[in-house]
Amino acid sequence: MDVIIESLPQYWDGFLRTLFLAAVSGIIALVAGTLLAAARVSPVAALRGFSMAYVEVVRNTPLTIAFFFAAVVLPRLGVTFQQFEIAAIIALSAYTAAFIAEAVRSGVNSVPVGQAEAARSIGMKFGQVLSLIILPQALRTVIPPMINILIALVKNSSVAGAFYVLELFGYGKQLANDHGDAVMWVLVGVAFFYLLITVPLGYLAHQVERKVAIAR
């Protein structure tokens, strides 16, 4: 167990970097995913088609493939990164955006039809209906699934550790190499720090879900 206390500085650094990766990719994915969802329900056929193709392809692509592409294939095509973090953020946000888009779309579908009809009957245009009436209500319903996607994002960021980014998993691998005799404790320590993020978030999702359920 001593190895956990000994390695606390590395754990802490990895913990912060995992949070950083998840936060930055999460924000990019939220914006991109909402735009994709808006495109998916828009009257413009080309945007609908593009959004649908993107979501279908990305949701069925393993995350490891996305990482492999960003970290290994892109550099050999001449797109180089100063830091692998950037490749990791690209892969994570491009992947997560597809799931956010699906969540927002299901939220849009959950808003009662009468809302849109009422908005249109007083003369609102598509953009107004979407931004003033539908999306504010839709986003409220999708907060719990959204939090669940963010939990998945935190866990998914561990793949970055396998692609040269020193976050929690990356440090875990390194520490496991250095402490061959205490591998179990090293990894238990890593697991603890992941649970420190994911379990409270899961609890939050559950609470919000109950609140929303009562409101409806």
Binding site: N60, V72, L77
Partner: protein, 279 residues
């Protein structure tokens, strides 16, 4: 598809939408053209780079990769499902000393990255990478299956259980013979959707050096030379997407079939929601 969000377009709106479509197509096409040009400048489209797909060896390596991927997924799914059923029964047990520890274990398994579990099994138990991959997948997906089935049981009308108890079944018998079969049927679409996640997660085996499809790509690129990385990678990614799309379609088909049947009187099955099928 008519949408409630906008009217059936009139001539003016159709023109605006057409212009929008054209601009959209032009933008997307420009983006694609730029990507293709950049790739072309790197010599990606030289015929010799793609000629390797004329060789039987390349395909046999790819086939090995697919085989390893599917084997890990199939074995993990076959073990994880019954284990998930068992965990679900324990999670909703009337006995507190079974229910509470199970709950803690499930929270633990769901909150951890799958790849960390694989690494743990690989290093701590010094197993083969195949066993590490399968064990990681089994532990994680059994926990998810358990939660999906629990959601299914909770969605059943209370009378189902009450009727079971009233005719003298024990609590356990009612769960096993009345509630569980209905819950599994209701949640079949979510369970199949979770299979896509499981299949995708086999590619984490790449990280613990299991010889699945992505690892096969890496091995081939190392062997043939880096200039062949993109073609092989491209083909492997296409194979992954094709397999997963097929399973996704199956889930949607089951869902449609289920809701058609549900229209005949039985309450509509709840969608387990995005929460259970993310990742």
């Amino acid at each position: 598809m008519s949408s409630v969000l906008y009217d059936v377009p009139g001539p003016k709106a159709r023109r605006v939408s057409l212009i929008g479509s054209v601009i959209g197509v032009v933008l997307i096409a420009a983006l694609l053209a730029w990507a293709v040009m950049t790739l072309g400048q790197q010599g990606i489209f030289q015929a010799q780079r793609w000629a390797i797909f004329g060789q039987a060896d390349v395909w046999s390596l790819i086939a090995n990769g697919i085989g390893a991927t599917l084997a890990a997924a199939a074995i993990a799914a076959v073990i994880a499902f019954p284990l998930g059923l068992l965990l679900c029964l324990m999670r909703i047990s009337d006995v507190a000393w079974i229910r509470i520890p199970t709950r803690i274990v499930l929270e633990f398994l769901r909150g951890m990255p799958v790849v960390l579990m694989m690494l743990f099994v690989l290093l701590v138990f010094a197993t083969s990478s195949f066993i590490a991959v399968v064990t990681g997948l089994v532990l994680y997906n059994a926990a998810i299956f358990a939660e999906i089935i629990r959601a299914g049981i909770q969605s059943l009308p209370r009378g189902q259980r009450e009727a079971g108890l009233a005719i003298g079944l024990t609590s356990f018998q009612s769960r096993l013979t009345i509630e569980l079969p209905q819950a599994v049927r209701r949640m079949l679409p979510s369970l199949v959707a979770q299979l896509v996640v499981l299949l995708k997660d086999t590619s984490l085996g790449y990280i613990v050096a299991y010889g699945e499809l992505l690892r096969a790509v890496q091995v081939m690129a190392d062997f043939l030379g880096p200039q062949f990385l993109f073609p092989v990678f491209f083909v492997a990614a296409a194979i992954y997407i094709a397999i997963n799309l097929a399973v996704s379609r199956l889930a949607i088909w089951i869902e449609r079939r289920g809701s058609k049947k549900a229209a005949g009187g039985v309450a509509k099955a709840p969608t387990a929601g995005v929460s259970t099928v993310v990742k």
